[in-house]
């Protein structure tokens, strides 16, 4: 660093790392990876959790179809290869947010265990917390909800390779948290996640 000439600029030696950003923000960081069938309630839980975290002063950011599929992944379709690349890119972006000090909330069906495990490995290799939350819901309940009318279209053959209909959903074997959105209330789901985040020291005790 050259001699300081500027009057009111406090120079910082070296790179700013995750620990320093954590001190600035006053909380820890993690990727919370919601996985589950379409209509299982992933986004509902993520939106509610984001709101509660924000009220607690925690910087949280959701990655979902709206800002990812229409943005960085706009050049990807829904074949197997593109689905894998979709999840890979979301995982890489989530990792950057965690590195930046935020709690990243990813809500994608992410039906294949191998793709999710790669994202987990990506985080763990870098020493970044990865919390897989299985938003479990029976196909019957998800299909009965059908918030976007997608199951109807899949049953009518208008959508191919639809998870749960003609494409598999591989349930997580060892998720950090297993929610049952067809049996638990939204409050219970959010409380369960908050409890885990507190337990792991990612957010301050209530």
């Amino acid at each position: 660093m050259t001699e300081q000439k500027a009057t009111n600029v406090h120079w910082h030696e070296g790179d700013i790392g995750r620990a320093e950003r954590g001190k600035l923000l006053g909380h820890g960081a993690a990727t919370i990876w919601f996985t589950g069938l379409s209509g299982s309630g992933k986004s509902t839980v993520a939106v509610a959790l984001e709101g509660v975290l924000h009220e607690q002063g925690v910087l949280a950011y959701r990655l979902d179809g709206d800002n990812v599929r229409l943005g960085i992944n706009r050049n990807l379709g829904f074949n197997a290869e593109d689905r894998a690349e979709n999840i890979r890119r979301v995982g890489e972006v989530a990792k950057l947010f965690v590195d930046c000090g935020a709690v990243a909330l990813s809500s994608f069906i992410s039906p294949y265990a191998a793709d999710r495990d790669k994202v987990r490995a990506l985080h763990e290799e870098a020493g970044l917390p990865f919390i897989e939350v299985f938003v479990d819901c029976s196909l019957e309940a998800a299909e009965a909800r059908d918030p976007k009318g997608l199951y109807k279209k899949a049953r009518a053959g208008e959508i191919k390779n639809f998870t749960g209909i003609d494409d598999p959903y591989e349930a997580p074997a060892n998720p950090e948290l297993h929610l049952h959105s067809d049996q638990q209330s939204l409050e219970e789901e959010v409380e369960a996640i908050l409890a885990l985040l507190r337990e792991r020291g990612i957010i301050p005790a209530a």
Copy 2:
């Protein structure tokens, strides 16, 4: 939102937006897009700026070759198509960070005006601030520095399509800021950016 049962959870109605995250963080957000020749000093300025912003309580995050080329863009090479896709993805990621409330510092050569202009449009369409900083430096000065020994390799023909040697660098026509890294000190460069950020209300007055 269903009835509140949880004891100490403050629910938040609706999505958390950029304005609310800005209130939480206490500052505005923007993408600062550094462009210039290899060796022009983009990363040096970005690292120094990140440190100064951090000392001022501003959440800043650098996107560069280390965390992007080896992460989300690890499946991209250096041909024209891949270079364009590289910049597109970085632009989309930077946009997400701005949406999250951070000051994103992108330092890539980004030699083609069309690619940079697409990133600018991406931000402007979404009402997000985009600040293009041209880190101008003569080819002679950049080549004399050659911090990574890349010019030497390019001159020896070991690297093809190297910007400034056998691939063009298209200087920005109307950058928000035009730095001259072969004439200004690092302090002067950082001060110029801070002044612009203050002027635009992105960071609080000193």
